[in-house]
Amino acid sequence: MADSRLPPHRLGLIAVALVIVTLMVVQMQWGWLPEYREAILDGLWLTVVLMVTTSVAGFLLAIPLGLVQVKGPRPLAWLARGFCTLIRGTPLLLQVWLLYYGLGSLFPYLPGVRQSWLWPYLIESWPYAFAALTLSFAGYEGEVMRGAFAGVPKGELEAARSLGMHPLTILRRIWLPRAVQRVLPTLNGELVIQLKATPLVATIAAVDTYAVFGRIRQETYMVYEPLLLMALIYLVLAGLITLAFAAMERAGSRGR
């Protein structure tokens, strides 16, 4: 971080953290760790991949979802608004299950699906996890992008129009960058929420970080050690997201 000053209360917090970590290492049982190292890394990998890919894909979907609500033809705007309302108004767990148990169980009965190249993927759980998390992020960010597009001052777009720019050029060069610039501060929090939504995929048998630690608990009969380590892992991931955004905002703050 750019701020290198260490005021007394921060030193105090660091000391407290050190004490807790030391107690954790000394007092608790960590003998199971080497055995599960591979599994934990695999689970961590799936968590990170799901978080990153569904955020990117969801955000890419959110751009048209937000745009048509501001500028699109009315039927499309209604459709987009309906989608965002539906996604934001229902539990993500329900969406995951609807896709996996609902849609997933329909596929085998559709003619031709079993023979298609898609079939090997459709019998796995991760495509449904990916789809559910992507649609969820798209629903939330679609609403955010709607506000961001609407919030770009009209004059900036009029200036572009007055210079003869094509509407797509205006979108690509002015409207979208300005809208994204406006959502960056909130995107940090949304990504952390997305990270914390990923454990829901463990309920459809995808083996993410959460699922791995669930297995560890069942097999070792330990409660606190696996849970604390898992908490630490999510905390570090959330911290990394926040650090990345702090760096991005510093880089982008010149423009505001």
């Binding site: 200036a159 720019m165 094509h166 002015i174 610039q181 505001r256």
Partner: protein, 266 residues
């Protein structure tokens, strides 16, 4: 009350020709039959009180507002419309973009793009619309920024500039397209009084160069100084127009006399 005797025929071909232009928002009639022509090299000042329709008229000239009825010729091309009432819009989008690229506009609120440096703001339209190379656009942008006295600020972002600097930057951005006419929409109205002069100085230079300019302004002294023709709008109509000496020195209509009395009690 139209003053036909002072209507000057445009010199050297009309850049902008407007006939019987009407604009209404719902039941509010903002423009009620405007006839206006500006020839190459003309400097036309549009004056009038707030709500007289002068900004709306200017915004109709590059179709940021679509006239409710009436005809419009820009740079010699008639603008076709389709639809009626609130649905009416220019029929040929491609033509519209082509003509807008040749008509610069400067706004009251500057409207520079905050996510780009001043230089990038000036380079953007030439690169995206005229497909100039980056190097070409940069050279041109630097020359223009030097011209408006901002070469030392080319890497600055708009938010860090004063209003006067932003507006001069916005003028450079409009000039970068090599426009055949410039539309100014109250370019100094959002400026602190001490910053008005620097913007007017740039505009005065442009007028001296023989640029075609349509200027909506409240700066009467400036209008008297640079305009070839002053057009006075009142309640959506042209109430009086003529050379500045006549309009300011010997206003015919009571409406203009009242307006000038309000503006400069002398």
């Amino acid at each position: 009350m139209r003053d036909a005797s002072t209507m000057t025929a445009p010199r050297g071909g009309a850049v902008i020709e407007v006939e019987d232009l009407h604009k209404a928002y719902g039941s509010a009639r903002v423009l009620k039959g405007i006839d206006l022509a500006a020839g190459r090299g003309d400097v036309v000042a549009l004056i009038g009180s707030s709500g007289s329709g002068k900004s709306t008229l200017l915004r109709c000239l590059n179709l940021l507002e679509t006239p409710t009825s009436g005809s419009l010729r820009l740079l010699g091309e008639a603008i076709p419309f389709r639809g009626h009432g609130a649905q009416r819009q220019p029929a040929d989008r491609r033509q519209l973009r082509r003509l807008r690229a040749r008509l610069g506009m400067v706004f009251q609120g500057f409207n520079l793009w905050p996510h780009m440096t001043l230089e990038a703001n000036v380079m953007e339209a030439p690169m995206q619309v005229l497909k100039r190379s980056r190097a070409e656009a940069r050279d041109e942008a630097r020359a223009l920024l030097e011209r408006v006295g901002l070469d030392h600020l080319r890497d600055a972002y708009p938010a860090t500039l004063s209003g006067g600097q932003q507006q001069r930057g916005a003028i450079a951005r409009a000039l970068a397209m090599g426009p055949e006419a410039l539309l100014f929409d109250e370019p100094t109205s959002a400026l602190d009084p001490e910053l008005v002069g620097e913007v007017l100085a740039v505009m005065r230079d442009l007028a001296k160069e023989g640029r075609t300019m349509i200027i909506v302004t409240h700066e009467m002294a400036f209008a008297a100084d640079v305009a070839d023709r002053v057009v006075f709008l009142d309640q959506g109509e042209i109430a009086e127009q003529g050379p500045p000496e006549r309009v300011f020195g010997a206003p015919h209509t009571q409406r203009l006399q009242r307006f000038l009395g309000l503006v400069s009690p002398s």
